[in-house]
Structures are given as structure tokens and as C-alpha cells.
């Protein structure tokens, strides 16, 4: 194991075999290594296997074939250094927002006071101050998603897996969250794998963008984004960024006028 192959996916295959219906080949021959501290985004059409890939990395779903290693360890069950933002917020309805966010710290029995403070900071960061004592059903969809992001960050995991964390957010909040995420990432040195539907977002945030083909997901291209860091939003107006966006978009056959 080296720093250069902190996350290692070799010849990964995944086939779902439900009891009552036909099997679905979700992923096919995925090969990918992620450096320690790298920021990698995964883009691809709906249903191509992005969530499946993240769940396998998280140790939540068994693979059909191939090998997956994180920090040199075979992933057969969830590893403690991994944090995850789920596609659906998955908050616990019997806990207040604050207690929901504290779940990872509670599970890993981390220092209470320190993490309470951190949770409070994160809530402030995502604009949920004042909602600490509310219950999930009292929050809007986007607010729940933001709470889910706080939860994934509260224990400062070394590896962060994010499944469309900003999907339910408006443009302004999304941009703001992108900038903040970059800041947190820079400060903490986390390794991040992010699934997103926004190609500009992927370009803005990532060191490399993995483009998956439609189901069964294969790697269509891996695009290194060589924009200097630290990045500001304005970098996205640059031609170089535009080239990256267009290049990735070309895989999608999309006009790029809506998204």
C-alpha cells in the first residue's frame, strides 16, 4: 500500500441478483486508484451504478468480483475511518437534528464536548442554526440533506464518500457549500469520493473526474482537472474549466444549457 493507492479498486464487478426478478449488472470491470488526500468525483447517467460503487467502497454492499482496498485493507465491512453522505438523508426521526448529527461521534465514543462544538459549527456553516432542537420531519428536503452532510463531517473521517450531497439545494446554497467543502477538505487532508450530477461542480471540486458509462457502469474516461488550488468560484468562468466541462459533457450528449 502506498499513499498513491490509498483507495484501490481492481476489476470490480457487481451484479444484483434479486430473489424475485431478473439480475442487473450494475458495475463492470471498474479499475480505479485514489491517492491519499485526493478529491475524486464520479459522474454518470442515472442508474449507471454510482451509488453502488460508493456502497461497495463503504463496505455496505458485497461485490460480485474484483478487489476493493482502502488504506491497504480489503473492504469487507465498513471501516471506521470512512464517513458517508447518503443519497437520501436517512435521518433518525426520533432524534433531534443535533442528536442526529452527533450520531457518528456517539458511535465512535469521541470526546463529547469537542464534537458538540464542532456539530454546532457545522450546523452554522450549512445554515441550520436554530434548528438543532427540531425533528427531521420539521425540516425541508434540502435542510435534511444539509443535516446529512454535517453528520458525515462531524467526526472528521479520513475518507469521505458523498452521494449527491447537494442535489436538493438551490444554486446559491450549493455554490456556498461547494466552497466550504473545499475549505474543509484542504484543512483536513481528507480523501473524498463524490458522486454528483453537476458537471461544473465536479470540475470545480475535483482533482480527477471519473466518467461512468450507462448501465452497466464502466469507466468511460478519467479526466484529471489541472486547475490550480486553492480554487475560487471565479475559476469556473475560465476557459480551461470550460474545456473540462465540455469534455465531460461530451460523454453525456447533453447541451449543457439546463444543468
Amino acid at each position: 500500500m502506498s499513499e498513491d493507492s490509498w483507495i484501490e479498486v481492481v476489476g470490480l464487478d457487481k451484479r444484483y441478483q434479486p430473489r424475485r426478478s431478473a439480475p442487473t449488472q450494475a458495475l463492470s470491470d471498474i479499475n480505479l486508484t485514489v491517492r491519499r488526500g485526493e478529491f475524486v468525483s464520479v459522474v454518470g447517467p442515472s442508474g449507471c451504478g454510482k451509488t453502488t460503487l460508493l456502497k461497495i467502497l463503504a463496505g455496505l454492499s458485497p461485490k460480485t468480483d474484483g478487489a476493493v482496498r482502502i488504506a491497504g485493507r480489503e473492504v469487507t465491512k465498513p471501516l471506521p475511518e470512512v464517513g458517508m453522505v447518503f443519497q437520501a438523508p436517512t435521518l433518525l426521526p426520533w432524534r433531534t437534528i443535533f442528536d442526529n448529527i452527533m450520531v457518528p461521534a456517539e458511535i465512535q465514543k469521541l470526546d463529547r464536548d469537542k464534537h458538540r462544538e464542532r456539530a454546532q459549527q457545522l450546523l452554522e456553516l450549512v445554515g441550520l442554526t436554530g434548528f438543532e432542537r427540531k425533528y427531521p420531519h420539521e425540516l425541508s428536503g434540502g435542510m435534511q440533506q444539509r443535516a446529512g452532510i454535517c453528520r458525515a463531517l462531524v467526526h472528521d473521517p479520513a475518507v469521505l464518500l458523498m452521494d449527491e450531497p447537494f442535489g436538493a439545494l438551490d444554486a446559491m446554497t450549493r455554490e456556498y457549500m461547494n466552497v466550504e467543502l473545499l475549505r474543509i477538505w484542504r484543512e483536513s487532508g481528507q480523501t473524498v469520493v463524490l458522486v454528483t450530477h453537476s458537471i461544473p461542480e465536479a470540475v470545480f471540486l475535483s482533482d480527477r473526474v471519473v466518467v461512468l458509462s450507462p448501465r452497466p457502469g464502466r469507466i468511460a474516461e478519467i479526466v484529471p482537472i489541472e486547475l490550480e488550488r486553492p480554487r475560487e468560484l471565479s475559476v469556473m468562468s475560465s476557459d480551461r474549466a470550460g474545456v473540462y466541462v465540455d469534455r465531460i459533457r461530451s460523454h453525456f450528449n447533453a447541451a449543457g444549457v439546463i444543468d
Binding site: 456502497k55 455496505l60 470512512v82 464517513g83 458517508m84 433518525l92 450520531v103 456517539e106 458511535i107 465512535q108
Partner: protein
Amino acid sequence: MATTDVVDKPPRTDASPPGGTRRRLDLRERPQLWLVPTVFVVVVLAWEYGTQLLEVDAYVLPRPSQIVEALQRQLGDPQFWSHLWVTSQEALLGFVIGVGAAVLLGTFISQIKVVEATLMPYIVAFQTVPKVALAPLFVLWFGFGLTSKVVMAAVISFFPMLVNVIEGLRAADADRIQMLTVFGASKTQIFRMVRLPSALPFIFAGLDIGIVFAILGAVVGEFIGAKEGLGYLLLQTNYNFDIAGMFAVLVVLSVMGLLAHFVIRLLQRRLAFWAEETKVIGA
């Protein structure tokens, strides 16, 4: 008014009305407050005059007035209170033990599939054995005192709770468990943070059934070999041809069951509040 309700009458304001009209509103919003007593009065009157009209003999079905009379007599007798105390003790102890054992065993069983598959047949088989038939043996094994009745109450309240605990612990949402798993939760933590809260509606159903059966168990235990307790008093009143007295005891047992039921529902509203609040009202 819950915040997610479906409107099917002219929408009411979400804000509570100013304090002054509270009491009056309560009666309108919770008609059970007058319905329950009304129904009660109607039933009692129908019973009273129905039995008179149809000339039903008191030893077949005593009239409410006779029952009330008998009840007054009983309540004035210090012996009665000691009977009540004995049965309450037996039922409560049996309930706690039976329900506690069901929660422990149910938890254990549902954690490990093999254990469930191995033990469940025995538990079901044992449960189908009529405890009343075993009662003479119960008495031989556990003596004629409190223990055999407590065991009876425990055994009979155990099974409904067990089935509900197992089913309830199973009902947890897979996504929530996955979420906890990613954050490194142990089985115990998953149990505490997701399985148990998800199982609460089942557990409360189990408790509700369990307490009723615990009281029944204690009473039936007393039928078989006791010299005190409400079950014994039932036998005695019946033996003495005091059917009104027997019904008075039945009324007391009903009140016991009712009280226990309300305590459990209250607990449920406190402990499983989120279920109440996300409930759809009027749909």
C-alpha cells in the same frame, strides 16, 4: 393538530386558540371525553332495565345496581383490599418478569438467525401447552404461594411480547441500519439507536396485550391453588352463590386492566412521540 395532517374539513389554524376557549375546545376536539361516559351510562341503563324486563335471574346475570351494592360491600372490607393487593403483586411481578424475559430473549433471538430458527419451535410448542393443565404441576414445582401465580402470569404474558419484540426488531429500516453501519456502529449500538426505537410500536402492542394477560394469568393461577387474591375471591363468591359479588370482582379486575392500559398508552405517547407527530390525522 399534527403538522402533516391531510385537510378534510375546512383547514383549521395551526396556532392554538388563545387560552380562554381551551376547555370548551377540548370537548369538541376530543369527543371521547363525553362519549365514553355516555356510552357507559347507556350500557348500564340498558343492562339494568333489560335484565328487569326480561326477568333474568340474578344468578345468571346480576343487575348493575346489585353489582354496585356488592362492590360497595367489598370495598368496605379490609380483606378485599388484601386480595386486591395480592393479585396486583402477582400480576405486576409476573408481567415484569414475563415481559422482561421476552425482551431479553427476543433481542437475543432476533440478533442471530440460527438461534431464532432453533429456539422458536420450542417456544411455540411450549406456548401451546395449556398452562391451566400444567397448573397442578406448576404448583408442585413452584409451591402454593405467590411464586406459582407469578410464574403463571409471567409465562402467559411472555409469548405475545416475544412475538412482537422479534417482529418489531425485524421491522427496522434497512437504510437506517446501513447508515449506522457506515459510521462503525456495533450491533449493540444499532440495536439501541435504530432497532429498539423502530420496534417501539410493536413493543407497546406487546405490553398492552401482556399486562392484560398477566392479570388473567395471576387470576387463573389463583383458581387452581390459592387462599387469597381476586381469583380466589371469584371462586369463593361463585361458590357462595354471590354472583353479584363475583361480578363486582370482575369489575375490579377490569378497572385494573384499564388502568394498566392507560399507563402503557401514556408511556407510549411519551416514548414514541415521533410516531404521534408524523401521523396523518383524518386520513
